[in-house]
């Protein structure tokens, strides 16, 4: 039996590709030149391709920290590639790639913990209770992607606002997206993530929970952090639309929401097998 070379792709392959892309991006700002940029984009694209193939060939359990973080890293790698091609003259990759690399690293560190799903194939996943598990997981993952984009734009916003406050010469620093654009992206990401998270949690609570004996797991870290994350959204929405809170404070709150997202994804799942 022959084994496809693609089966040999590991997390190290795309993790190191992303790292190379990040280092080349940094080099671009110290030694300007198109070669750095295109080499960086090349490594980033290669990393994303390897990442995609890995997920297709070794689908991880989304309920486990390893799988959830790896899937979130993939979503953000897509965001990285889109932004770095679309906003070539702006510092984009230097903000997004460290998060992607950190998520890949964190997923590796947490590999082996939490649930492992059997290889059921598509029909198996889409049948019975597991179908709602897939819906729940997909909604939570998309919401996490939204929160992550909100986090990235918030960090960029904070850096840009800090530069403006300090009256840093715009010609002397690597350009970022404008406050206006970052705020718009942040608003859109949060506004999309909130209903997705709500729907995902509702599916998990009302359609999946009855099939499992939750017991004391109502107070598990995953449930508490998810509930905390959900509560952040109405607060964010209220502050944004009903009060004159400066966007800088909203950005800080979005950063906190991202921290809760990471905790929620990395914590053991109370429903899935192997959860503590």
């Amino acid at each position: 039996m022959t084994v496809s070379p693609l089966q040999g792709i590991t997390t190290a392959c795309f993790g190191l590709s992303y790292l190379c892309a990040f280092l080349l991006e940094l080099a671009r700002y110290t030694r300007p030149g198109a070669v750095w940029r295109w080499a960086g984009v090349g490594f980033g694209a290669a990393g994303l391709a390897a990442h995609t193939l890995y997920l297709a060939l070794h689908p991880p359990a989304p309920a486990a920290a390893y799988g959830a973080l790896l899937l979130l890293a993939w979503v953000l790698a897509l965001v990285y590639l889109y932004g770095t091609v679309h906003y070539a003259d702006r510092a984009w990759a230097v903000f997004v790639l460290p998060v992607v690399i950190a998520l890949v690293g964190l997923s590796l560190a947490l590999a082996g913990t939490g649930a492992t799903d059997p290889d059921l194939g598509l029909p198996g996943w889409l049948s019975g209770d597991r179908f709602w598990g897939v819906v729940h997981g997909t909604l939570i993952l998309l919401a996490a992607g939204g929160v992550s984009v909100g986090f990235l734009t918030s960090v960029m916003y904070l850096v840009q606002a800090r530069r403006l406050r300090a009256k840093v010469n715009p010609g002397a620093v690597v350009p970022l997206l404008s406050l206006e654009r970052l705020e718009a992206w942040n608003r859109t990401a949060v506004n999309l993530a909130f209903p997705l998270l709500t729907a995902g949690l509702l599916v998990g609570t009302f359609l999946l929970r009855p099939a499992h004996d939750l017991g004391d797991n109502w107070l598990s870290l995953k449930v508490v952090s998810s509930a905390g994350l959900w509560l952040v959204f109405p607060v964010l929405t209220y502050l944004r639309y009903a009060t004159g809170v400066p966007p800088r404070r909203l950005a800080l709150l979005t950063v906190a929401a991202f921290a809760l997202t990471l905790v929620a994804l990395a914590a053991a799942h109370p429903f899935a097998g192997g959860g503590q």
Partner: protein, 424 residues
């Protein structure tokens, strides 16, 4: 190459004289009609706010003109005494003239180093001369080469980057805040000169509307008419501030016009959290500096803009050596190419002439030796004559090419023509 660049610029002549020597369209047309005949030369007239120059070229013979003759011509056209003009004229010859026009086109000879506007002015001057039929082979090759050099300088160096004037530096502070400008409102408070200049740059971004507020309704109306804006009564300044996204303030008020308290009570609650960028160009300042938070309100004063402009100018200066190196390389290439074009026919003529003499002498010799030499021996004799010719011509041709490379091939070219009886 018989090329001269003769004229004056901001370094050699005061603005008063440059103003008197400026070519309006009618005078330029007259110059382009007269100069080719008067100096028996190709001509281009370059007139910008910082320079007035004539480029004169002749394919052969002596220099087309020198500074005194050009001073006389300028004096006639502009009605200025030649004695007032001549001391301020410079004259660049041949390769130096090539370097000069390349530097001018690249913005390296400008008061604001790296400015790009002059490239367009050089192009326009050349096209006007072409249209008037005043150019010929040399200038038709020179000016496109100058424009190509300017393009290369801009592409390969950062000598044209950044805003180097205080008024244009305002744009640098707007881009980190706003993404689009087509929905933005600009409010101009006062009617100061700096505000007008800054508004000119901001208007290039295409804002939706311009509001003008002034204590004096008459001056306000005049400024609104000049800026194409809408006049706002002074007592409605708070309303205008609530609507504005960008403010240019240049009043002569002794006290701040917008205090922190006034803004907090009457403006901020009505802004809906929108970002505001204020360029407080007044001294003393019109806006309380405490308003600046870099988030919702950013206030930049003249010192902030000056800092940006100074840095951009310093950054441009840092790239001048690289730009000069490109110009140097392009000048060398142009001179070499031109001289090759010029030397090619002469070398061809020289070779043909010596070929003719060789074949005649060889024919006579072979006629006398007819039947005495074997076929192989005849070939050896012919080969020896050819080798002798090549060795004989190698020295003069190499010397001519070397002299042409350094831009001094004219004398040698004439000597060769005389020595070998060539027509050039």
């Amino acid at each position: 190459m018989n090329l001269r660049a003769i004229g004056c610029n901001a370094a050699s002549a005061a603005v008063g004289l440059r103003e008197r020597l400026a070519f309006d369209p009618a005078k330029r047309a007259r110059a382009l009609a007269e100069v080719p005949g008067r100096f028996a030369a190709e001509a281009v007239v370059l007139d910008t706010c910082n320079r007035v120059e004539l480029y004169l070229a002749r394919a052969d013979g002596d220099a087309p003109a020198h500074a005194p003759a050009v001073a006389e011509f300028l004096a006639e056209v502009h009605g200025v005494p030649a004695a007032d003009v001549f001391p301020h004229l410079y004259e660049h010859a041949d390769a130096d003239a090539v370097r000069h026009v390349f530097r001018v086109a690249a913005g390296l000879d400008s008061v604001v180093v790296g400015e790009t506007q002059v490239g367009g002015q050089v192009k326009e001057a050349f096209e006007a001369a072409q249209t008037a039929g005043a150019t010929g082979p040399l200038l038709n090759a020179l000016f496109p080469a100058a424009l190509r050099t300017a393009k290369r300088v801009r592409a390969e160096t950062r000598v044209g980057d950044g805003h180097v004037s205080v008024s244009s530096a305002a744009v640098d502070f707007l881009r980190p805040v706003f993404d689009t400008f087509s929905d933005k409102t600009v409010l101009v408070i006062g009617a100061g000169e700096m505000g007008r200049l800054a508004l000119n740059h901001i208007r290039e971004l295409g804002p939706a509307r311009v509001l003008v507020a002034n204590r004096s309704p008459e001056r306000g109306a005049a400024a609104a008419a000049e800026y194409g804006g809408q006049l706002v009564p002074w007592d409605q300044l708070d309303d205008a501030l609530a609507r504005a996204d960008i403010v240019l303030s240049t009043t002569g008020a002794a006290e701040p016009v917008v205090s922190e308290r006034r803004f907090a009570e009457k403006v901020r609650p009505r802004r809906g959290g929108r970002a505001l960028v204020v360029f407080d160009l007044a001294v003393p300042r019109d806006f309380a500096p405490e308003l600046h938070d870099g988030d919702r309100v950013s206030v930049f004063n003249v010192d902030d803009l000056t800092r940006v402009a100074d840095r951009a100018a310093a950054e441009r200066r840092r790239h001048v050596p690289a730009a000069e190196a490109i110009v140097g390389a392009e000048v060398g290439r142009f001179v070499l190419d031109w001289n090759r074009r010029k030397d090619g026919p002469l070398i061809g003529q020289l070779t043909a002439e010596v070929d003719r003499v060789r074949e005649a002498v060889l024919g006579q010799l072979l006629g006398k030796l007819k039947g005495k030499l074997a076929a192989g021996e005849l070939e050896q004799v012919e080969g020896a004559f050819r080798l002798f010719q090549n060795k004989l011509l190698h020295g003069p041709i190499a010397a001519l090419q070397e002299a042409s490379r350094s831009g001094h091939g004219g004398t040698l070219r004439e000597a060769l023509m005389k020595l070998f009886g060539l027509k050039g």
